[in-house]
Symmetry: C2
Subunit: 674 residues, 2 copies
């Protein structure tokens, strides 16, 4: 028996030795891996659980500030959503079993590269969260919320010690309020979700050819003529900046220039380089007035946005507009500017000086990187990993977005496996690698609306957040998908509507209160990757078709595909065979129920052949299952015919990919032929 002071010390040593074994050393079946996302840098799992009930409370120690009190209340709100239990809102230092210890403040304006680390220790009786500053506290609270799960005894958090810090200091999400206005409520709920997955940069883009969606007091015709009244007032912007700061998130504004700038010219045609400003999308880099205007404008906006970084775009200039304008040509000749790219470099250099005079550091897309681009300009790379490496080699800091274009409907694993220090960047020197600051997921809104934006962003952006936070070695795709499904549900407590959108849109497009058979079809189709939506359906005013409604990645199709991999490779379980058969029967029989429903609505009529194809794919799949199961040889002409049909069924139809077609093709390919 051990007691007294030494006893307690001895016990805690024992506890440390026996309960805090690194998780990797434990047999896999003994411990459920933590469902956290991003995965923490270092985890030691122990035995037992900490239980949360109505008596749960948090006490704050050490450095305190109002932001921490608000974080505590926000934490309790989410914990209430997780548990359906209401908690005391007032901190009681004495009786609390959750102690937060903060050493000191973070910077008054959040800086790139601040310490974001935290230490979280959960025992069966107590929780301790310590961090050098409030940023780490914010992150640690989110980790704790991700650890809560229900079991037969209550709401439990496993005994664990976590030491965590991010791999990259710039972990961003771009929301494009230029192509389309994004309502404040949608911005807020996505900031809430960003906090949950420890993203720390909100890259907020305000203008594009299609619109100008922020209030300028200096140049009110910007939003006055190019927003249809849908713009953020400066008060709203300040509100969002405060909201983001509360969540450990910097706000980096982007005003794209000199191109993608058609909207500016509605109110201020003198900025345009075209003879007809309504047809122009490029500013005129040869006019002194352009720089005078931008100086005033950038002065106004740099005063509004406190962050040290200021994004001036610079992507995708159509050089022809300059090169076809005699006046601009004449200027270029006079100043020995050899081509459009050099003219943009000239513009960039001028704008960089303006930005620097207003005490900000310029960020720009790939194209702003030119031979004499100042070394302090941060390059955001969208064209590919080589341009990122190129920036670092030239000594510029850089942020990767190529590979994180979440508007392109790629599966989560493709984004997940893109590493800012992978590919070309892997060959950088250690010093050059330090210039790679991180990455940003980009939610462009060309063909995404506030309706379906959340299911484009979530849950896939959580996988990108893990890439940017967690150790480089965390790359297991199966583990990522397992945890992604869990974080996806938890994110819905924060407000994002990604899990609700599809059903609502199915109801709307079918006019049915219960669109059952349409739901079945929707569960196995995906919008095609890339920009095919634009090519295949040109109406962007109504994003209300099935390709707009379904998530970019079908969970059902992914699971079915994995099962067919196991079946065709001979590693399937009896449950796999049964599940595959159940799904195929469901899909085969769905067409008869769905066809009459599709006729009722103009938005679903073009789905008739997709549904019919699903039936045929399923019929072929069921026969292939039988053949594989019985090891029954198939006539090779029949097999070939089926493969051809499956290949054609896998092509886009009604702007949709029928995902099971290629999985069933795998089954057919695996059958014996004679």
């Amino acid at each position: 028996m051990v007691n007294g002071r030494f006893g307690r010390f001895f016990c805690s040593i024992l506890w440390a030795i026996f309960t805090l074994m690194p998780v990797d050393h434990l047999p896999a079946q003994e411990k459920t891996p933590l469902a956290t996302m991003p995965a923490p840098a270092r985890v030691m799992q122990g035995e037992g659980e900490f239980y949360i009930d109505g008596s749960f409370g948090i006490a704050m120690k050490g450095y305190d500030e109002p932001r921490l009190a608000r974080a505590r209340l926000r934490f309790l709100d989410i914990l209430t959503k997780e548990t359906g239990t209401s908690f005391k809102r007032e901190a009681e230092a004495g009786s609390s079993h959750f102690i937060i210890q903060t050493s000191g403040p973070s910077a008054a304006i959040q800086q790139l590269g601040e310490d974001e680390s935290y230490h979280l220790a959960v025992s069966t009786t107590d929780v301790e969260l310590t961090a050098p500053n409030p940023l780490g506290v914010l992150h640690g609270l989110q980790t704790f919320l991700q650890l809560v799960q229900i079991n037969e005894k209550g709401f439990a958090v496993p005994v664990v010690t976590i030491d965590d810090a991010p791999r990259f200091p710039w972990r961003g999400l771009l929301i494009d309020s230029g192509h389309r206005f994004v309502p404040i409520a949608a911005v807020k709920r996505n900031l809430d979700a960003m906090e949950a997955v420890k993203l720390n940069v909100f890259h907020w883009r305000f203008s594009d050819d299609q619109g100008f969606h922020i209030e300028s007091k200096k140049f009110p015709r910007l939003q006055g003529t190019a927003s249809e009244g849908l713009y953020y007032s400066q008060d709203e912007v300040r509100e969002i900046i405060d909201y983001a700061r509360d969540r450990g998130i910097r706000v980096v504004p982007e005003f794209d220039m000199p191109c993608h700038a058609k909207s500016w010219f509605q109110g201020y045609p003198q900025l345009s380089s075209g003879q007809d400003p309504s047809q122009s999308s490029a500013m005129d880099p040869t006019q002194e007035n352009t720089y005078k205007f931008l100086d005033v404008f950038i002065g106004e906006m740099t005063a509004l946005f406190p962050d040290s970084y200021f994004h001036t775009g610079g992507d995708e200039c159509d050089m022809k507009e300059w090169e076809s304008n005699p006046r601009i040509q004449e200027y270029m000749q006079r100043n020995s500017i050899k081509d459009g790219a050099a003219l943009q470099a000239h513009f960039t250099a001028r704008v960089e000086k303006i930005v620097a005079r207003h005490k900000k550091i310029m960020v720009g897309w790939d194209e702003v990187l030119q031979p004499d681009t100042p070394k302090n300009v941060v390059i955001q790379s969208w064209r590919g990993p080589s341009s990122l490496a190129e920036a670092a080699r030239r000594g510029n800091r850089c942020v990767l977005s190529s590979g994180y274009y979440i508007d392109l409907n790629q599966p989560a694993k493709e984004h997940y496996l893109v590493d800012p220090l992978g590919d070309n960047a892997a060959t950088l020197t250690p010093e050059q690698k330090k210039l790679v600051l991180g990455g940003e997921a980009t939610m462009w809104t060309d063909i995404v609306s506030a309706d379906n934006m959340d299911n484009r962003i979530w849950p896939r952006t959580a996988a990108i957040a893990e890439r940017l936070w967690s150790p480089e070695t965390v790359r297991d795709v199966d583990s990522m998908y397992r945890r992604l499904a869990i974080i996806s549900q938890k994110l819905s407590y924060y407000g994002p509507r990604h899990l609700l959108i599809t059903e609502e849109m199915l109801q709307r497009m079918s006019g049915e209160l219960d669109p059952g058979p349409l739901r079945v079809l929707a569960s196995v189709v995906q919008p095609p990757e890339g920009y095919q939506r634009q090519e295949l359906r040109s109406d962007f005013s109504a994003l209300n078709h099935l390709d707009d409604a379904v998530p970019p990645e079908s969970e059902t199709a992914r699971e079915f595909d994995q099962i067919t991999q196991r079946i065709s490779s001979g590693t399937a379980t009896p449950q796999d065979w049964q599940r595959a058969r159940e799904w195929l029967v469901l899909w085969r029989d769905n067409d008869a129920k769905l066809q009459p429903m599709l006729k009722q609505s103009f938005l679903t009529q073009d789905l008739a052949p997709v549904s019919k194809n699903l039936r045929q794919v399923a019929e072929i799949g069921l026969r292939a299952l039988d053949d594989l199961h019985d090891d029954h040889p198939v006539r090779s002409d029949v097999k070939q015919q089926n493969i051809e049909f499956l290949k054609s069924a896998a092509k886009p139809q009604a702007v949709l990919l029928l995902m099971p077609a290629s999985s069933v093709e795998r089954l057919v390919q695996a059958t014996k032929s004679n």
Copy 2:
């Protein structure tokens, strides 16, 4: 061939004659009845549809004010949610096919009994909405939104002419922020939904024994000691009042006194009539200081709330608290006050004078009606229809809430069939009937949280809204349920979360991302009616059990019950038989899948016997179906045994009613015995 001026006139006459036939005169199968709720006072349906596409726009004519512009934008937002189409936000008088014509303003502060009528005429090419003032415009816009449905050609509104006005001028929803704080966002989304169903009084209750949830600047210890920081600031209250006014809704505040007042005494114990203020819930009506305090408090609150009416509660006084206090007894004897009720009447008379001095009309619950209650006091009746009639007979105006207690988990039809002028009120004289102003649904929050409040309010409150708006003769329960399902879905566009809550709570309580078998059980259980939740489960801090999650009325159980009625009465269709069998098989087979899941979570363990009962009920049901189908006689002891089991299975278990038990009993009762 007809052309020219006469031709157009002739055509419009013809159009009027042939297309605007009253809907009742048309054969039922030709026209789908309008899905509007509340049903308009007068409807003439025509031929054809008006189609909405991206070119849709609205123009305002006549009287204009900013509230109308905001209503137009709000209308476009909902229309975008209904159609997934974005519309031009700027009004274009020339090209618009939807013209709103407003004759003049409504009162600066919305008054009881203002004209709320409107005229809505939809042709295949144009929409005209005319109203004497903005209140009618608001209502007409909501009616139009309810008419939108998708068909094979587009988003269509049927050709129709509607002349509409409410039956009662006081159509309310009480939200009780006294028992529990209700977040501002929840208040707003319920105001949005109130507008959709033309309710016009938001009765907002701020205090009860459990808490005091509004800021008093005069007496800051009210919210300071009894809200845990959860209270509405006066700015927030003003924001809600403006928000409500924008939606044609008056805000009537309630401060319950002299009882249900424990929370007041935490900061101001001198108001209490108990020797121990922490045990007291009644103010002291014998102290002059009480009235001085209330005069200042009521002065502050009547200045904050612009409505002409001010609710001072007055319900459920526990007279013993006064009658057991010697000092109060002595006062009563000295002033010849014979009992507690008379003492409350004394208090009410004093408070009424205070309210009147602050230029407001007092509203109070039943109990404030005493022999000498001033005639201008409005009585809100909660104890039964006889108290409502009694108030009218005494010459007091009155509002019915008895029968509209939506916290009691009654089916929609029970509320729907309660008429403010039915029951005892039917015997009132025409002059007395005019004193019956309308009714109010009451969302008490004793055992309802912000989590599940929306599914207690919606959709059932839409049925009450119809009772209060539509003609007395609109009473068809089947039609009500058909339209209720449609309006329920449309209401979700306005923000209420009633259709989302159950699934979220099932996921949470099971810990499963897809709680399939639990969903099946949840679809056929209901919380018991009345106050049994309190008796059967006493923990109110965690409203996270299945009885909290499921809607008060099971749609599936109601449909199944109707099918069993048709089967037992010999009027069932083959589809009825098939549907009944499918459901019973689903329920029978569900138990085996559900039992392992129930074991995993402490919140579902007590559902094991409920699930087992569902299996047994289904087994008995399937046998009864066979017996009925084959006209097969059943041994009477077996039949009796089954009936006894079904009766016991219909009793509350785990605070839930297993709804199919009584429907299956009907089937068993219908079998022949031998």
